[in-house]
């Protein structure tokens, strides 16, 4: 909170550029009324006592009464998995508490029951933990985070956009079920925490694109304008950082040349035009980020694709990513004692140091790795379902050992693959 601008161009410590920057996220309990400055002092004291960490680390229990009473967790985040001395790095401490009210509706017309957008106050309890649960190729998440924070940083510094061109439109595309929408939500959550020193709160607006089409001919364009006027109201609050998510953006920006062939009603062209001009309008404000997702990229209007600065392809997870996804699933099941007794599974780095040599220690992890390799081609959404299917279809008992669960998962993956083949054959 008290930390100013935190960006790699601008070290927030005592100005020593060669120090590594480490982000510390402090999650304050929502019932706490403590002063942020006081929380910060206590967290710094805690970090001083435990200054050596191995990569990502999270404290949830404290030897300090004040922290136990007020703080849910203190986490060292987004660092390489290697030993790290916090005393030698500049610490950026982000203090936040979650908003647990659900989404509220934004209505376009007074009497309209259907809401045109859902609206969250960030950081939202609903989005908590999504960022950690998303597993992608090395660097995709960090890269996106850096992209957007640089864009906001430039706007913040009033860089003349006629000389240096950039905008804050992100387009994530890729096959279904790879977590594009989740990534948008997680990114917004992360940034609202990271930039809490600059903006006092974040807002997340998810547009229901279908609600923008009117039953009246030629009214759709106006609805889009109305929608963006609402968003404009939010942006006018300079203290707020606003994220606008347009999910499945192709429905709003379907290629206009398709309509020239006569397959698209002219009302739809107006919507595309309206969206494009409105986007240009709100883009000028420094405190707005537009996040869009799509899985049929070729259908999107070129003028829109051109406007998006960051076009990130989110593909199917690799074997490595799948291994990590499975690992997090198994951890959760062990925590809930569905898999019992608890057994330590090694992660890929540890397997690597052991040169993948089969032994008592590595046996289970190697089995998991084989399953992961077999699962390549499945989407993230399906992968997260596999442990459930394994339990539902192949478990004989409610509680089972890791060994038996792994073989159940093995069968579940085979089953999933067969299903997929059948579907493809039917088509």
């Amino acid at each position: 909170m008290e930390v100013g601008w935190n960006h790699h161009q601008h070290p927030c410590g005592d100005g020593i550029a060669d120090r590594v920057e480490v982000h510390i996220e402090v999650h304050v309990k929502s019932q706490s009324t403590a002063r942020r400055a006081e929380v910060r002092t206590h967290v710094l004291a805690l970090l001083d006592r435990h200054s050596l960490v191995m990569g990502f680390f999270k404290w949830t229990e404290f030897d300090d009464d004040f922290l136990t009473k007020n703080v849910e967790s203190v986490a060292v985040v987004d660092v390489e998995a290697q030993p790290l001395d916090l005393k030698l790095s500049s610490l950026c401490i982000h203090i936040f508490s979650l908003n647990d009210d659900g989404p509220s509706m934004l209505n376009l017309e007074e009497e309209e029951e259907l809401s045109a957008a859902n609206h969250w106050l960030l950081p939202a309890a609903e989005f908590h933990g999504i960022w950690e649960s998303l597993v992608y190729e090395e660097g995709i998440k960090a890269q996106l985070l850096d992209y957007v924070s640089t864009a906001i940083f430039f706007s913040d510094k009033n860089v003349d956009s006629n000389l240096v061109a950039w905008n804050r439109v992100v387009l994530l595309h890729g096959p279904p079920g790879t977590g594009k929408t989740s990534l948008c939500k997680a990114l917004a959550q992360k940034l609202s925490i990271r930039l809490s020193g600059r903006y006092s709160y974040g807002q997340f607006v998810e547009i229901n694109s279908h609600s923008l089409f009117s039953k009246w001919f030629s009214e759709s364009g106006k609805l889009v304008t109305k929608m963006f006027q609402k968003i404009q109201e939010l942006i006018d609050e300079k203290e707020a950082l606003v994220f606008v998510l347009i999910d499945e953006v192709e429905s709003l920006t379907a290629a206009r040349n398709a309509s020239q062939a006569g397959t698209e009603p002219s009302d739809a062209i107006r919507v595309v035009n309206s969206v494009l001009t409105q986007l240009d309008q709100i883009k000028r404000h420094p405190n707005v980020v537009i996040l869009t997702t799509s899985n049929v990229t070729e259908k999107i209007d070129l003028a829109f694709v051109d406007r998006a600065d960051i076009k990130q392809y989110i593909g199917l997870p690799s074997a490595q990513a799948i291994f990590n996804i499975y690992l997090s699933c198994l951890e959760e099941l062990m925590k809930r004692q569905i898999i019992y007794p608890r057994q330590q599974l090694l992660n890929l780095e540890e397997l690597d140091t052991l040169n993948y040599i089969e032994s008592d220690v590595t046996e289970l992890s190697l089995h998991l790795q084989k399953i992961a390799e077999k699962s390549v081609g499945l989407s993230g959404r399906t992968l997260r379902k596999i442990p459930f299917l394994a339990h539902a279809l192949y478990a004989k008992t409610p509680v089972m050992t890791v060994e038996r669960f792994l073989s159940a998962m093995d069968k579940a993956v085979d089953h999933q693959m067969k299903e997929r083949e059948k579907l493809v054959n039917c088509v």
């Binding site: 929502s30 009324t33 508490s97 509220s104 934004l106 609206h119 939010l234 609050e237 707020a240």
Partner: protein, 368 residues
């Protein structure tokens, strides 16, 4: 004013009816002051004679009408008192000169009261009414100045009564809070009477309406109860009523600002009933809450500024909350006339220690 006005007056009277009892205690405590205080009531009645006359007339007619067959005895007695009180004040209105000469004979202890009267006088001027209306219309702001200090308890009552009033006038409740409580009691009584008979037929117009009515009332009662707790734990300088889907982008926002109120002990403060009367009179003159257009049903959230260490549990602390600047915002500001009565001024406090607390429930509006 048409029928709308009639409703208002009736409502106003009910507020006063409720307050009558606890205040009698104060009168007994400070016996010597009773006369002076009465004088003050008279003066407020006398200076704006049209209001109490109307009120008295409306209560007599309007109330019998509203409560219809089932008005019980205790209510009637309370009413009788109230009407009488009002009639007294109107009679006295005619002899305003007498009263001021009476004031001249007051003892030293009563002097503060007479000074209060003098503070009061300009407030009821016609010019002033116009000024109040203009302010309400152009700035969305109503200033109410009380001629002395008030109790913390009184502040809580102002907020609670204003909440009930806002909900009714902004069309989130189909009738006033007191009428709703009354109807609910009546409904429960009939249900209990005909216990054993077919239950479903007794319920009025469909189960869902009845349930929604009960739910709204339950939520509102809960909020009112917890507001009392909050006021007993901490000094509360500001309260917000947020109507609309979210706290960040409200459709309507009403702020009760009590920063300029001087709080005092119960023996040195003004009677809450008088203050309420003054408050609602100004509010009706300002015509802040009425709207010709029908208002959509929305949820109402209440935010209150209180000390961070007050230890209130039910409310959710919002350390980073900022009052939204957009949307329709109206301020009802309560103040004590600068009297130098030796009370610590509110601005001496450390505002940094005051944070916003939000009610965890939203009161959902409903109509019949």
């Amino acid at each position: 004013m048409g029928e709308e006005g009639l409703g208002k007056e009736g409502e106003l009277n009910k507020f006063m009816t409720v307050v009558t009892k606890p205040d009698s205690r104060v009168e007994i405590q400070a016996d010597g002051q009773t006369e002076g205080r009465d004088g003050e009531t008279e003066s407020s009645g006398g200076l704006c004679p049209n209001l109490p006359v109307n009120t008295a007339a409306f209560t007599a007619a309007g109330h019998e009408d509203a409560s219809q067959t089932a008005a019980n005895i205790s209510e009637e007695t309370l009413h009788g008192e109230d009407v009488k009180e009002n009639r007294d004040s109107t009679e006295d209105a005619e002899s305003q000169q007498d009263k001021s000469s009476q004031l001249g004979h007051m003892s030293g202890q009563q002097e503060s009261d007479s000074r209060q009267v003098s503070v009061q006088q300009p407030v009821c001027d016609d010019d002033n009414d116009e000024e109040i209306m203009r302010r309400a219309r152009e700035e969305g702001r109503v200033d109410v100045v009380f001629p002395g200090c008030v109790t913390q308890d009184g502040c809580c009552r102002f907020v609670c009564e204003l909440l009930k009033c806002v909900l009714y006038q902004r069309q989130q409740l189909p009738m006033t809070y007191d009428q709703m409580v009354f109807f609910q009691k009546q409904q429960l009584a009939t249900t209990q009477l005909e216990e054993g008979a077919v239950r479903k037929s007794i319920r009025p117009s469909g189960d869902s309406t009845w349930q929604r009515c009960q739910r709204t009332l339950r939520d509102l009662d809960e909020v009112l109860g917890h507001l009392e707790v909050l006021f007993s734990l901490s000094y509360v300088p500001r309260v917000l009523f947020i109507l609309g889907s979210s706290g960040i982008l409200p459709t309507e926002l009403y702020e009760i600002n009590m920063e300029a109120l001087v709080q005092g002990g119960s023996d040195r403060s003004l009677r809450t009933s008088q203050c309420l009367r003054r408050l609602f009179r100004t509010l009706f003159v300002a015509d802040l809450l009425s709207d010709v257009k029908p208002v959509r049903l929305m949820g109402t959230t209440i935010m209150a500024l209180a000390h961070r260490d007050c230890g209130v549990e039910w409310f959710k602390p919002k350390v980073d909350y900022r009052v939204p600047k957009r949307g329709k915002r109206q301020v009802i500001s309560l103040a004590s006339a600068a009297s130098g009565s030796g009370q610590a001024k509110a601005d001496a406090r450390d505002w940094d220690d005051y944070i916003w607390f939000q009610t965890p429930v939203t009161i959902k509006g409903f109509c019949k």
